[in-house]
Every structure is written in C-alpha cells, then in structure tokens.
Amino acid sequence: MKHLYSLLPYLKKFKKKIYSGFFFIILSNASDSLYPLVIGMAIDDLSKGTLRHNLLTYVLVGLLIVVLRGTFLFLTRQTLIVVSREIENDLRFDFFSHLQRLSKSFYNNRSTGDLMAHATNDISNVRNFVGPGIMYSFQTFTRILFTLIILFSMSSSVTLLALAPLPLITYIVYKVGKLTFNRSRKVYKIFSDLTSKAQECFSGIRVVKSYVRERNENREFDKISFDYQKKNLSLAKVQAFSFPMMFMLTSLSVIIVIYFGGIKIMEGSMSLGDLSAFLIYLGQLTWPMIAFGWIINLIQRAAPSMERLLSIINVKPDIADNENTDEDITQKDIEGEIEFENVSFKYPLSNNFVLKNINLKIRKGTTLGIIGHTGSGKSTLISLIPRIWDVTEGRILIDGMDIKKIPLDVLRRSVGIVPQESFLFSTTIEKNVSYSSDFIDEDEMISAAKKSGLYKDVDEFPLKFKTVLGERGITMSGGQKQRTSIARAIYKKPEILILDDSLSAVDTKTEEEILKELKSVMRDRTSLIISHRISTIKNANNIIVLSHSKIAEEGTHNELISAGGIYFDLYKKQLLEEEIKEF
C-alpha cells in the first residue's frame, strides 16, 4: 500500500482538476438524491388524485435533475479520468526516460520481455487505480453518505431495517474478495506452470522425440492441465457465489422495505410516494455496494504493480556524469590518443576477471588490430572505451584525460562503434545511416554508404535509401546489416572508430574492397579493429593477441608471424581453412 503514496507528486500536478472532479461528484450525487424525492411526490399526488399539468411539472423537474446530474457526471469523467490518462502518460514517460539512462549493468540481468510487462501491465494497473479507482471510491463514499442522510430523515426505523443486510454484504464482499484473490493467485501460478511446461517440452522437442517420450509428455501436460481446470473450478465456486449473493441481499432490502413500508402505509405513518422513493434510493445504493469490492480489487492490483515500477525507477544509473566530471571538456579537446593503464575488469556479481592488467597505448591516427579466441575479452575491452562498462581497476585515458572526467556525451560522441551484432532500427536506411545527427546530410550519407560498401546494395532496392528495414520493410542479409552499421559509424565522423568483428558476415573478397575504402576513413582517426580473421587486421599499425584475459602478444603482423606464437598458429590454421574450403 505504501508504494501508492509515491503517486502523490503525480497527483499534485493535477491538483486543481482533481479537486474540481471531486466537486462535480458531490454535485452529481446531490442532484441524483433529489430525483427519487420528485418521483415520490409525483406518486403521492397521483394516489391522492391530482391534475395532469401538475404531473408535467414533476416530469420536467425530474428531467432537469437528470440533465444536471448527467452534466456533472460528464464533467467528472472529463476531469478525473482524463487526469488518470495524463498521469499514465507521465508515468510511462518517466519510466521510459529512466530506462534510457540506465547502464548495461542494469540490462545485463533483465529480459526485455519483463521490462515490457512493466511498461504495459503495471502502468495500466496503476492507471486503473488512479482513474476509476479514485473516482469510484469518492463517488461511492459521497453517494452512501447522501442517501443515508435522506433515508434516515424519511424514516429511520425502515432505513435501519433495510440496512440490516448491509454489514453482511460488506462482510461477504470482503470474504469473497479474499477467497477470489487467493484462488485466482493459485490459478495464475498453475497457468504459468502450464506455460513453462509447454515451453520446455517444445524447446526440447528433439530429446522428446528421439527418446520417444511423446506419450509421457502428453501425460504430464495433461496432469497440469487437469489441475489447472480443478483450480479454475474452485475459483468458479467462489465467483459463482458472489453475484447471486449480492443481488439476493440487495433484493432482500427491497422486500424488507416493501413489507415494513407497506405496514406503515396501512398504519398511515408513511405515504406511498415515500415508499417508492425509498425503493429507488435502495436501487441507487446497490451499485456503490458492489463497486466497493471492485475498488478493493483495484488497489490490491495497483500496489504490487507500483512496487515493481518503483523498484526500477529507483535504480540509479551507475555510469553517469558526476561531480568529478570536467564540464569544460568538449569534443574539440578529443584527438584520439588512447591509453589503458593497468586495466582490469570483471562483470558485476562475477568472480572471474575478463581482463587482467591490460596496458596499452594507441597513438592518435593509428590502427590497432585485436585478435583472440572467443571469450578472450576482446569485445569487453572495447566496450570500456565509450564507458558501456566502467573499469574495475586501473584507468583509461584519452589524450591524457581519464575518461571518467570527460562528460559522457562528449566521450560517446567521439567514439564510433560498430558492434558485433548489427542492431538496426525499423525505419528507413537513410535514417539508420544518419542516426547520429538530427537531420540527414544527403552527401555525407552517400559517401558513408560508399565507403562501407553498402551503396551498391541499396541502389538495388526499389526505394533506395528510403527503403524501410525490419518487419514492415525488407530484411537485410547479415552482411548488409553489418555494412549499414559501418556506414552509420562513419557518418558520425568520430575521432575514434571501433569495428567489433564487423566484417564477419561478408566474404573475403568484399572484405578486401571495404577495407580498401575504409583506409581513407581510418587515415586520420584512431581505429580499433577486432577480428577473427588475420586478413582483416594484418595491415594494422599494431596488433594485440588477447588470451586468457591478458595481452599475450603484441606487434606488427610480420613481427608476430616470426615470433611463432598464438598469432602464428591462427595464421596457419586460417591458411588451412582456406585450403579446405577450396577442396
């Protein structure tokens, strides 16, 4: 429950609207309370025998009341429900903006699916509480208050009798609500078992089929499915109970009123009109009574949702500008000399160092080749430069400045990375290539596309650079994606260019062509190239071989070949591979 208090700042922003909404609720309930009185008077007049034009006055007054009440109801919805939509908007905005600022360590152990669930279900649960929840609570409360005052003023004894079932109703609503909550939790639980069972069986279908376990799998699924049905029926037992009970109890009040009211009329201490008014008032109370249980339900759902949202919103981004940041550093100060000083790194919650005591200097404008087995720490090494992760020990300097001092946006603007997995957005090719700027510089885009070897491919698409990628558009091949990703990095014109195995999906011939084009790009900037292929990096000014979290070898291609170590082995193997391919 206490988590819902965190909504207060959101509510405060719309204070005026919310208060006026409450005011409209009071007005609409007040006018509603007059309506049965008018009808009652009309019926009293009728049973006494009266003229028709008097009736018309009653009818018109009655309609006027309904119109008034309708107007206030309209205004209530237009204030309170609209506010809830606004708050939903703000909440989702805050949630999403916060997510954009969180660093890799946050995303590392969370699935996108889970985050999506928060963004949709949890926010909508909270919205339902803020909107309908608050509106109906207030409405119910004022309605009951008004009606009770009027009923007591009409006849306190009949009112008390009519309300006799009320405590029972409240008790039942509470009890049934609790039972429903518990049992539906069990139903959800088994439903998720059912889902994981299916998921697991289909994922392991090869094992299931090759060991001929289909029948057994069917049996096991059947067991859960049967249990699910049983739990559902036990829930149905409670749910089926709630509706008949509710209307039996409210109808009981009506019957009580008819009986005791009837006797009072016979005694002459009550009029027929009063009785009719009474009946209508009771009818008006039915809904708020039922709504009461529903509101409790809304709160029960909103509280844990809010808790989940807060657990994310309260996460502080661990990589961000802070008091140590030197705001005076601008992109002009970055020239591209990189130095690793005794850098070690391990992932949070892990005990193993992925990188250990890395010392490395990359002079401005030179190219560094990085090679090594899968898992030797190559990608980790380069992700430390734009501070996707922060070093565990040691420090990284760019042009002599600790990168932790450089404002994060300056640092990242100076680095152009082509990541291992080419992630492209489902928009046009031109928007993807020019992603780094807010507008599209046509010439720059075409030049970037040419240099990355993308241009020819795009030229073959009917819509050229306006071609949309992704589900609504075309699906690019792995090589095309990589080249688009390279073009995107070139367009950025970074001081430091990093290619993380970015040519793995293109054949060696295309690779050679692209490398030739890239030469002009790399000439005046610092470049780091990770590759599995010797051919990609053999022309680099300096090459490091990573092995077991350390720099095992360093030197130029020729130096490393003559050293006869890991690099030489890799080289020989790749020659063999080429031979086998051509076999």
Binding site: R69, Q199, P244, F247
Partner: protein, 597 residues
C-alpha cells in the same frame, strides 16, 4: 526479433469478423456436453422468468394488499417474493457454476487436443515456428475461448429470454403503457449504435497506438546500447513521448465518448420514466391504471436496458474469439509431413546394421545439403563423421532418425527401409546425445529416465557409475533427486554432458548417435567424458560426429564429409597416410590436441 514479430502479428488480428465456418467448428466442441448445455439453458429461462416476476408482484403488493389494508395478504406476497428470490439465487449459483464447468471441460479437451497434435508434428514444424508462438496456441489462445464456451452462449440465451419475459409481463399489465414506455427504445438503439461505432473505431486506433508504443519500447530497449553509443537518449525520449502523447489523446477521446454516452442513456431512461408518469399518471387519474402498475413499470424500464447492453458485449467477445480460433484451427489443420506406414514392419531383435543408399537431401527445395550419400555400417561398428561446419554431418543424424525424410535414395536398418518402420519403433532403438544438452526441470533422476517407469534405480545407478557421474551425484545429499534448476544452469557444461550420457546408457539402445560437444572443459572433466564415451559406444552400433581425437582413434571407420558429399572413408591411419582432406582437417582440428597430450 521473432518474439516481437509474433507479438505484433497477434496485435494486428485481435478481433475478426464472425466467420460461420469457424463458428460451426467452434460449436462442434460443445457436442459432448450438449445435455449440460440444454440443462443450463433451461435454468437461465427459469432465472429470467423469476427475475421478471418480482416487479410483476409489486403492483399486487401495492394495489391489492397495501392500498386495501390487507396485512396478511401483504405477508403472503412478501413470502412469495422471498421465495422466488431464494430460488433464483440458488439456481443462479448452480447455473453460473455449471457454465464455468462446461467451459473448463471444453477448454481442457481442446488444450489436450492441441498439445498432443503439436507433439505429433515433425521437426520441420518446430524449426519453422518460433517456440513462443506455438506456446501461445496452447495457452493464451485457448484461454480466450473460455468465455465463449462458458458464460457466452448460455447467458446470451438468458438475456434474450429476460427481454422476452419483461416484454411479456409489461404487455400483460398494460398494452398502451408498454408502447409508450418503449417509445424511447429506437432512440436508445440509435444512440448505442453510434456510440459503439465511435468507440470501436477509437479502440482500434488505441490498439494500433499501443502496438506502436510497445514496439517502440521493445526496439529501443533491445537497442539501448546503440542509443547510448550515439548519445541519442534525448531524441529517443522525445520520439517516444510523441507516440505516448498520441496514445493518451486517443484515450481521452474515448473517455469523452463514454462521458457523453452514459448520461444520454440515463436521460433516455429518465424520459421513459417521465413518460410513464406523465401518460400513466393521466390514466391513473382516470382510474384506468393503478399506482402499483405504474411503479412496477418504472422497475421494468430499469431492468430492460441491461440485457440489451450485455448482448452487444457478447458479440464483442465472439469477435475476439474468432481471431484466436482461426489460429488454433490453422494449427490443428497442420499435418505432419512425415507419416507412419500403413502396414509397418515390426522389428524383432534389432541388430544395428545401417545402410545409406544414394541418399540426397535438401531442407529447402533445390538447395542440396547431402548429395548421393552411400555407406554401410555393420552391427556393432563405430563410425566417426568428420568435416567442416556445414558439411552435412548433422543432417545424416536427422535423416537416420526420420526427423526429416530423404529426398532421394533410401536408408536401411537391418535391411529394412526405415520408411516402412513406425517412427516410434525406429527411435526406440536409437539414442541420440546432442551437442547442446537439454535438461528438463525436475531432478537428475527424471532427467536420466525421462519418466520412463521401466528404468529402475539399478539401471540408473549402473549408468551413473559407467559415466563417472557417481562422485557428482554423491556430492549432493539429495543424490539422484537433486533438483535441476532453470534447465541445468546450476550444473557445469561437463556435468550436463555426463547426465545426457547416463540418459542414453539407461535407455540401452542398439544404435547410439553422439554429436560431440565442442566446448572446452577442464582436464579432469575431459578425462571423465572420454572414459564415458568409451563406455557409451561399447557393444553397439555408434555414429559419432567427432570433435575429439581420442574418440576418432577409437572408431573403426572415419567418414570425411565435405559440402554434402563423402570425400574420404577409412581408418585414422589410412586417411592420414592418404594426405588428403582428412589430413588437413586433422592438422586444423586435432593435431593441437595430440601435441597437448
């Protein structure tokens, strides 16, 4: 990506127009329960009659009893009212439970049917469809149908009957007054239909915007690293807010529709009550109508609007159900491409002789993965397949187990074409150990037996001893009942492999297929694995996709594959001496091992 695509594909077809063919098929599932449905319908008729009866009693109570000062008579009427109330309550409870029961039964049947159907489909289906989507068919899609199968149909009947009873009682009370009361009905129907149209359109837009919003969030969370690399957080947030704002504004529009519609409905029913008082009041004055009748008419008008509103809701439920049913039926119509022979040959005492005769295969038409493969493996022989990735080694396994069927040629087991053997019969004689070990949730024991009751603890421990898994099992106080968490994430790669070896050993097959894992493990585990493999292939026909030198050296024959063809065949020594492809592969993949040994 695939999950997102599935998600979006479903967004697009959230509802569907009602299709009589699908509806008919859907109704077919009611058949086994038709007696119960008839009974439930009968109950709703009674309920609706009782519900309509109570307002009908009001004028009797007022006019005959109260106005005539007949206290005992009033008591009598009250008792009747109480009686109908209790009876209605009980029947209502029974009916609601009964319809849920019917719904649950049908859902259970349907789910069972879909699940076993999916399991009967061949691997091609699983390779082609993302798992998430298949799971949705047995979970979410079935669940959507519950409402149709439970309350949907029966309560729709109930609503229709309620309208009927109300009209019946009203007309029986006063014909003209009923007509006057109903005069606002056309207006109400008109207002409702306008509202429905507006709301439906608005909902459609909201749904599209939600889909847009979700895919934007999804995309920019998946690509968060790119966003941050390019310092585009602010731009992303701005773009997001644009969609978020659209969504909010569209929602506000639909709030407006509701805010207008509800007061209008109330106004209309108030007009209707006003008409009753104005016209009926005139009649009362002329003594043509009693006050009691008037009051009961006001009660009736309140009752009348609910079933009409409910009915249109039922229509919406049915529309949602259509989309799900269509997907479910499409799945049920999917036929396995690999079928069992009509007159299967029963295998008695399988020896384990395997022959590939002129076998060719392509996963995609024309794109051959295997070309004209010929080889023989004799009973008890151990054969290793080697070759670069994509050479076609795994495909050989897929064909031998009939996960896929050959395009050309034939595969013989003990001289019988495997197409003439029942799939299950065939697979019972083959055990496969895959590269990626798949562990199920449960314990070590159930992962070895796969819940086959024929595998006793003795067999299990035997397998555990033979695979060298004993120390590992004994290191847990729960021994073989040690739970496997999240598909074995708490076990090491080596341990998982040993468990899968034990699984194969426990099944004691005639033929063993082993796709050796490439992942490197520590030296101790490596020795364990090597020993276990020796035990595993002992005394049975074994086909191994080998990555270890020691395994190859233990084999009787090596088949070298390259680009879908067999290039060389022979023993390790013969092939080395030949100095061809195998020699190269050996240098590339195995030599290092030899050196390190």
């Amino acid at each position: 990506m695939s999950e997102k695509a599935a998600h979006k594909g479903e967004e697009d077809t959230l509802t569907k127009d009602i299709d009589s063919k699908i509806l008919k098929r859907l109704l077919g599932f009611f058949k086994p329960y038709s007696r119960y449905i008839v009974f439930a319908t009968f109950l709703t008729i009674i309920i609706s009659a009782l519900a309509a009866l109570r307002p009908r009693l009001t004028p009797i109570a007022i006019d005959d009893k109260i106005m005539n000062n007949d206290a005992p008579g009033l008591q009598y009427i009250i008792l009747i009212m109480l009686g109908t109330l209790v009876v209605q309550g009980i029947i209502q409870y029974g009916m609601t439970y009964l319809t849920s029961w019917i719904g649950q039964k049908i859902i259970y049947d349907l789910r069972k049917k879909i699940y076993s159907h999916i399991l009967s489909l061949d691997l091609k289906f699983f390779d082609r469809n993302p798992i998430g989507r298949i799971v949705t068919r047995v979970t979410g899609d079935v669940e959507v149908l519950f409402e149709v199968f439970s309350s949907g149909l029966v309560t729709a009947f109930g609503d229709i009957f309620l309208i009927f009873w109300i009209l019946y009682f009203m007309f029986s009370l006063d014909f003209t007054l009923t007509l006057v009361t109903l005069s606002v009905l056309p207006l109400l129907i008109y207002a409702t239909s306008v509202f429905r149209k507006k709301v439906r359109e608005s909902y459609r837009r909201i749904r599209l915007l939600i889909a847009k919003l979700n895919s934007y969030i999804q995309e920019h969370l998946t690509g968060i690293t790119i966003v941050q690399y390019f310092v585009k957080e602010k731009k992303t947030i701005d773009e997001f807010e644009e969609i978020n704002r659209d969504h909010t504004e569209q929602n506000k529009k639909s709030v407006l529709y509701y805010a207008v519609f509800f007061p209008i409905v109330e106004l209309l029913s108030a007009i209707s009550a006003g008409l009753i008082i104005w016209y009926g009041g005139g009649q009362v004055i002329q003594n043509a109508v009693s006050v009691g009748v008037l009051i009961s008419f006001i009660q009736f008008t309140e009752m009348f609007f609910r079933p009409i509103r409910d009915l249109s809701e039922k229509y919406n439920i049915l529309q949602t159900a259509m989309a799900s049913s269509e997907r479910i039926f499409a799945l049920l119509d999917e036929k396995p491409t690999i079928s069992d022979p009509e007159k299967p040959i029963e295998l008695k005492d399988v020896k384990g002789n395997i022959e590939f005769r002129n076998v060719s295969f392509a996963y995609n038409e024309g794109d051959y993965v295997l070309r004209n493969i010929n080889f023989k493996i004799k009973e008890g022989e151990k054969v290793a397949f080697v070759g670069a990735t994509g050479a076609g080694k795994s495909t050989i396994i897929n064909l031998l187990t009939r996960f896929y069927d050959v395009y050309e040629g034939e595969i013989l087991l003990d001289g019988v074409n495997i197409k003439d053997i029942e799939q299950m019969e065939l697979r019972k004689n083959i055990a496969i150990v895959l590269q990626d070990v798949f562990l199920f949730s449960g314990d070590i024991r159930s992962n070895i037996t796969l819940n086959n009751p024929e595998i006793t603890d003795e067999i299990i421990y035997n397998a555990i001893d033979n695979t060298g898994l004993r120390p590992f099992v004994d290191s847990h106080p729960e021994t073989i009942y040690k739970q496997v968490t999240e598909r074995g994430s708490s076990f090491s790669v080596g341990q998982k492999q040993l468990i899968s070896f034990a699984r194969a050993l426990a099944y004691d097959p005639k033929i063993l297929i082993l796709d050796e894992a490439t992942s490197s493990v520590d030296t101790n585990t490596e020795i364990l694995i090597q020993n276990a493999i020796k035990k595993l292939i002992e005394g049975r026909t074994s086909i191994i996709i080998a990555h270890r030198l020691s395994t190859i050296q233990n084999c009787d024959k090596i088949i070298v594959m390259h680009k879908g063809e067999i290039k060389e065949m022979g023993t390790h020594q013969q092939l080395l001496e030949k100095g061809g492809l195998y020699f190269k592969l050996y240098q590339l993949q195995y030599k290092e091992e030899e050196i390190s040994e």
